[in-house]
Amino acid sequence: MKALVPIKRVVDYNVRIRVKGDGTGVDLNGVKMSVNPFDEIANEAALKLKEAGVISEVVVVTIGTAKAEDQLRSELARGADRGIHVVTDEEIQPLQAARILAELVKRENADVVIAGKQAIDDDNNQTPQMLATLLDWPQATFASDIKIDGGKATVQREIDAGAETLEVDLPAVISADLRLNEPRFIKLPDIMKAKRKPLDKVELSEFDIDVPKLEVVSTSNPPAREPGRMVKSVEELVAALKDKGLV
């Protein structure tokens, strides 16, 4: 069984981002970039299934700039077998990413896609669901546990009301939530080994991504909160809350 794991290069989750003064976006200059944390979890899930003998090959895919190769290499170092890099400087929207991934799934004849549930830059939370739809596959989003057996995946999902378990026929798209696993650390020798793992570069022009798009008019800071104050005691806190009519 072959798994495709889409990973995205994003600003590291520890970075406090800065909106550019002219409103044209977020300043990425000199900012630390990493693999989207949910995608690390997705890859870890695929690797665990490989170790369990369920999956035979894990292919990691990224759509992004030349530099996104770093992120692909780090997921190869984590243990994926092969990488595909769709190289582009264009800003790719989820429906476009889904179309590219759907085409790669067909080329690769993949049986399961394990993606992150959302990219922490644009926070869209769309691509895996769109991909499943374009392939006419089932989806199990926000997974906190995955079992694959007998042509079916049994997935526990995190939902607002708690948790639920879905059973989907394979092939399927699964998206990873935070509690699915803790990604293993990448060891130095594995980084060296990953340099020799196969990595295909693919041109964006090979894909039909001509779909309606949203336009970003401007990017701004969120509305600032009024500065707060420290209180010295519980009495003072209660008085302040009463003053605001909150208790």
């Binding site: 989750y13 406090r16 981002i17 909106v19 977020v26 989820p94 429906l95 889904a98 922490i120 830059d121 644009d122 926070d123 869209n124 939370n125 769309q126 669901q129 769109m130 499943a132 739809t133 374009l134 596959w137 089932p138 989806q139 199990a140 989003t141 906190s144 049994t154 995190e158 939902i159 607002d160 009301a161 708690g162 948790a163 639920e164 378990t165 879905l166 939530d177 509690r179 779909v211 309606p212 798009k213 949203l214 336009e215 970003v216 008019v217 401007s218 990017t219 701004s220 800071n221 969120p222 909160r225 009024e226 707060g228 104050r229 420290m230 209180v231 519980v234 809350l241 909150l246 208790v247």
Partner: protein, 311 residues
């Protein structure tokens, strides 16, 4: 003029309060607002939807498939109703996030995730980077606008309406590849986190599941919902449906009390729109104090019972 279809959120056959938030957003867009309610049996959810102010009509789609809400079986039903609508919206809950991209992909259109402000029929603000920046986005052309609504950004609508409820049947081929095996829902008697006016949350500082009674007790005293940080959930103190933050629930209560929570950006992402934030923490340098309207340095095991007694 806009004609908006809202996909209602239901839980156990009842209308979920977040549906009203989507109606509030639609009202700002303007135009005619219809709600589609997908349930197994006719009744409660559709009747509740008909009461939401501003709604013209409720389309009740009742069939056996809708006994279990699944994106793959719901999305084709939504699309079957889509003809003639300029907008299709749902609340940005885990259900909305699951279904709407499927609706968008079936229609071949992009989706606006997490609408937080309306600038026009096709122009909206949405948060990026866990709410640390805001993108104003525009949908050029006239394709069907599919979007999810950030529930924390819109108020509740009144329930004095009396829209007509129509039975709608959809002829869509529903896939058999997805089955719901079971659900474990926390529920409980406390107010729903996403719509509660007051919320008390505990973090890693609370220390254990037993100690969380301090948080529950304070919450009950003031009639608040109960939340938690991811660290508290991951440490097994409380179930995951209580998580507040970027990957948990985004909430906007009038009062938010953060107890033993350091204030990581991912947690703050969930409370940016809260009215008054109160922080109780032993560490005077905890980042939560940078956003707190009222901060108190102190041991939660001393402060919380005192606070409870004083209220």
């Amino acid at each position: 003029m806009a004609k908006i279809l809202i996909v209602a959120e239901t839980l156990g056959g009842e209308l979920h309060p977040t549906t009203g938030k989507a109606v509030a957003c639609a009202a700002q867009i303007g135009g005619e607002i219809d709600i589609a309610v997908f349930t197994e049996a006719k009744g409660a959810a559709a009747d509740a939807a008909a009461k939401l102010d501003g709604v013209s009509k409720v389309l009740q789609v009742s069939n056996a498939e809708n006994g279990a809400i699944r994106a793959a079986t719901l999305a084709p039903q939504v699309v079957a109703l889509a003809e003639g609508y300029t907008h299709i919206l749902a609340a940005n809950t885990t259900t909305g996030k699951d279904i709407m991209p499927r609706v968008a992909a079936l229609l071949g259109v992009p989706q606006v995730t997490d609408i937080m402000a309306v600038h026009g029929e096709r122009e909206f603000d949405r948060p990026i980077y866990a709410g640390n920046a805001v993108n104003r986005v525009k949908a050029p052309g006239d394709f069907t606008l599919v979007g999810t609504v950030r529930t924390a950004s819109f108020g509740n609508v009144a329930e004095s309406g009396s829209a007509a409820v129509e039975d709608a049947s959809v002829s869509a081929d529903l896939p058999a590849h997805t089955r719901l095996v079971g659900q474990e829902t926390g529920g409980g008697d406390r107010p729903d986190l996403q719509t509660a006016a007051k919320v008390v949350s505990g973090g890693r500082g609370v220390g254990s599941a037993e100690n969380f009674s301090v948080i529950f007790s304070l919450a009950d005293k003031i009639g608040a919902g109960c939340g938690a940080s991811r660290a508290a959930v991951d440490s097994g103190f409380v179930p995951n449906d209580m998580q507040v933050g970027q990957t948990g629930k985004i909430i906007a209560p009038d009062l938010y009390v953060a107890v033993g929570i350091s204030g990581a950006i991912q947690h703050l992402a969930g409370i940016k729109d809260a009215g008054t934030i109160v922080a109780i923490n032993t560490d005077e340098n905890a980042p939560i104090f940078e956003v707190a309207d009222l901060g108190l340095v102190g041991d939660l095991f001393k402060v919380c019972p005192e606070l409870e007694a004083a209220l």
